[in-house]
């Protein structure tokens, strides 16, 4: 197996890249996150700079104007961005999944049409499975697409679409054959184009509405929206992979993309956990109680020890899943484990860090308050912890059938 034994070893380029992204997070993201979080405002200047740095084209092949880097390097970048603020990685996240779908399943024309502009960040992508009445149970989606006069007319409602407003492309899963058995065979992924930033689309995009963004506990700054399709017409050539090859393949395509998506979320968990640990290490050596730094109390040291252990383990699981995928090995089980463990590590570490901060952790004056509101998203997006356990359990039994 061509997987490096030293999981955290980095190439010179990976070192230079993570160093750059870390500096970017320290200088541009962390000092501004509080403002954008508080205002729930899209961090446009940060995103513009990320475009210049090439962060929207990390995994897109060089022939389409991207960097052609592997999932492992991408995961390292995501960890650093998330250490700054998970909303920033969220802006890249759905875009990354969209570009993965195109790279793996798109026709040559589709790649030519979209990838180069995606690599520069000129256009950004969202992906949309969830609906008001279903999230975990993807096969229960109701949105439909019917062929009428050479195009597909999409009707229905989608929910929780990250980057729903400002994206130009939405990779949307719909039912094209409502009577299919099993259901997933009647599902298709469309590349739905729209005008970025417009809520009531018109002209060729008429029938595509983006309602006002959903108000959230945390994970602010990046918009999560509903999408309403009411007679929106999507050309047949916008079926991912083309009409002939792509019709009825949407579910399988999306599940494949979710596998890399899970590595991506895992990396976000590592980043936020790492940040929570850093804040705890600092605060616990500044704050005094009962005549000494609180870090000198064993109960606090044990918390720090548990946090650091979780961060390290989460990072190793994440890098292992990424490296397996890069090596062309099967990594579904590993991606699920990484996602489950790292997102839970994120939640655990932000809570421990908040406790270590005492009352101040509960105040908006301290960064950990934001982390505490941000971290739970990772327990839910791209499959809840319960769903991860189901996937892991099922795969385990498949691999070890007696």
């Amino acid at each position: 197996m061509a997987v490096a034994t030293d999981l955290i070893a980095k190439t010179d380029e990976q070192k230079a890249i993570t160093e750059m992204v870390r500096q970017f997070a320290d200088e541009k993201i962390l000092p501004n996150a509080e403002h954008y979080d508080h205002e729930d405002e899209f961090p446009a200047p940060i995103v513009e700079q990320m475009k210049d740095l090439g962060l929207f084209g990390v995994t897109i092949p060089e022939e389409y104007g991207g960097m052609g880097l592997d999932l492992t390097t991408y995961a390292m970048i995501v960890e650093e961005l998330s250490r700054g603020w998970i909303s920033i990685s969220g802006i890249v996240n759905t875009h990354f999944i969209g570009s993965y779908l195109l790279m793996k399943f798109g026709t040559e024309e589709q790649k030519q049409k979209y990838l180069a502009r995606m690599a520069t960040g000129e256009i950004r992508a969202a992906f949309s499975l969830s609906e008001p009445e279903c999230g975990s149970d993807v096969q229960a989606i109701k949105t439909t697409a019917r062929k009428l006069d050479g195009a597909y007319e999409i009707n229905g409602q989608k929910m929780w679409v990250t980057n729903g407003l400002l994206s130009s492309l939405v990779f949307v899963l719909v039912k094209t054959d409502p009577s299919a058995e099993p259901k997933y065979k009647g599902m298709t992924c469309f590349i739905a184009e729209k005008e970025p930033g417009v809520s009531e689309n018109s002209g060729e995009y008429a029938g595509f509405t983006v309602p006002p963004k959903i108000k959230k506990l945390g994970y602010k700054g990046v918009e999560s929206t509903e999408l309403v399709f009411d007679g929106y017409r999507c050309p047949a050539e916008n079926i991912l992979g083309g009409e002939e090859a792509g019709l009825g393949q949407g579910f399988v395509q999306m599940m494949d993309a979710l596998e890399v998506g899970r590595v991506n979320v895992a990396a976000r968990g590592v980043g936020i956990a790492q940040r929570a640990l850093e804040l705890a290490l600092r605060y616990s050596q500044e704050r005094k109680a009962f005549g000494k730094e609180i870090a000198q109390h064993q109960a606090i040291q044990f918390k720090l020890a548990d946090m650091a252990t979780q961060v390290e383990a989460a990072r190793l699981l994440t890098l292992r899943a990424a490296r397996l995928k890069d090596a062309g090995e099967r990594s579904d089980l590993e991606a699920g484990m990484a996602k489950l463990f790292a997102s839970e590590a994120g939640r655990f570490c932000v809570e421990e860090s908040l406790r270590i901060h005492g009352g101040y952790g509960y105040s908006k004056e301290y960064e950990v308050e934001r982390l505490y509101r941000d971290a739970p998203l990772l327990l839910i997006g791209e499959g809840t912890s319960e769903i991860q356990r189901m996937v892991i359990g099922r795969k385990l039994l498949q691999r070890h059938k007696i």
């Binding site: 010179d12 380029e13 230079a16 890249i17 160093e19 750059m20 500096q23 970017f24 700079q49 210049d52 740095l53 090439g54 962060l55 084209g57 990390v58 960097m67 880097l69």
Partner: protein, 263 residues
């Protein structure tokens, strides 16, 4: 115009500086990186080019062990077109004067119109290499420059930070200029620039290639005698004055300052 930028590999800023008790010298082990002060010099070169001056080439030049290649990669990812790496066992242990001589020899081969460098290195913090290099090259030298404009392609108008305010100085090129970190905000290297760094030409030269006389460099060629270096004493805890009666507190603070002749 050809610009050479002197760069150096130093211990990473996150690594705590300490004296190695066995050698009595600075412990330079651990993670290393491009001297952060040098990134301002590279950025200054880039801004001269982008400001419309005709800059044919920006060349990063370093003297250092094999590992210094990484600092050169970073330098080219920040915009330099190519790099020169002077590396030779005979150079180990060179003091500031010897290092300046060796760098000047290396620069001579490039015949630059302008040599830029950071105000100090993050490890040795001598602030003097620029002047030593300029002396060998017989070029004017300015330090602490925080604004730099090219005039008529042959002259530089520089603002330098002085103890009380700013000096505005005009110098003829070729010149050696060390820049203060207030001069600019260095850019981040893009992913493309990072991935392309190893593809830019890197010229590895030995002492003999650039005519360095071996008795001028290395420990033997250095005048500096390393004595008994010790880490600085730990800072005392400081004195906390509880503010019970503000008049009294002010008096105490004034007395404290007065005692130390700070008023």
């Amino acid at each position: 115009m050809k610009i050479c930028v002197l760069v150096k590999e130093v211990p990473d800023a996150a690594v705590e500086k300490r004296i190695d008790p066995s050698t009595g010298r600075l412990d330079r082990s651990g993670e290393r990186n491009l001297n952060p002060y040098d990134t301002h010099a590279i950025e200054a070169a880039m801004q001269i080019r982008e400001g419309g001056s005709d800059v044919e080439e920006i060349v990063a030049v370093t003297m250092g062990p094999e590992s210094a290649v990484r600092a050169l990669h970073k330098a080219v990812s920040l915009g330099a077109d190519r790099s020169v790496h002077l590396s030779d066992d005979s150079l180990a242990g060179s003091d500031v004067a010897a290092t300046g001589y060796a760098l000047a020899k290396t620069l001579q081969r490039e015949s630059p119109d302008l040599v830029l460098l950071g105000q100090q290195s993050d490890d040795g913090e001598c602030y003097t290499i620029g002047a030593v290099v300029a002396d060998h090259l017989q070029m004017p030298s300015l330090t602490q420059v925080i604004k730099l404009d090219v005039e008529d392609g042959a002259k530089l108008r520089c603002e330098r930070q002085a103890e009380y305010g700013y000096d505005t100085v005009s110098v003829e090129m070729p010149a050696v200029i060390s820049v203060g970190d207030a001069i600019n905000e260095p850019r981040y290297p893009s992913l493309k620039a990072i991935m392309g760094a190893k593809k830019k030409p890197l010229d590895a030269v030995a002492a003999g290639d650039v005519g360095i006389e071996s008795d001028h460099v290395g420990e033997a060629g250095s005048q500096v005698q390393c004595g008994d270096f010790k880490p600085p004493p730990e800072k005392a805890g400081g004195e906390i004055i509880e503010d019970e009666d503000t008049d009294e507190t002010v008096e105490k603070i004034v007395a404290w300052l007065d005692e130390r002749k700070l008023l």
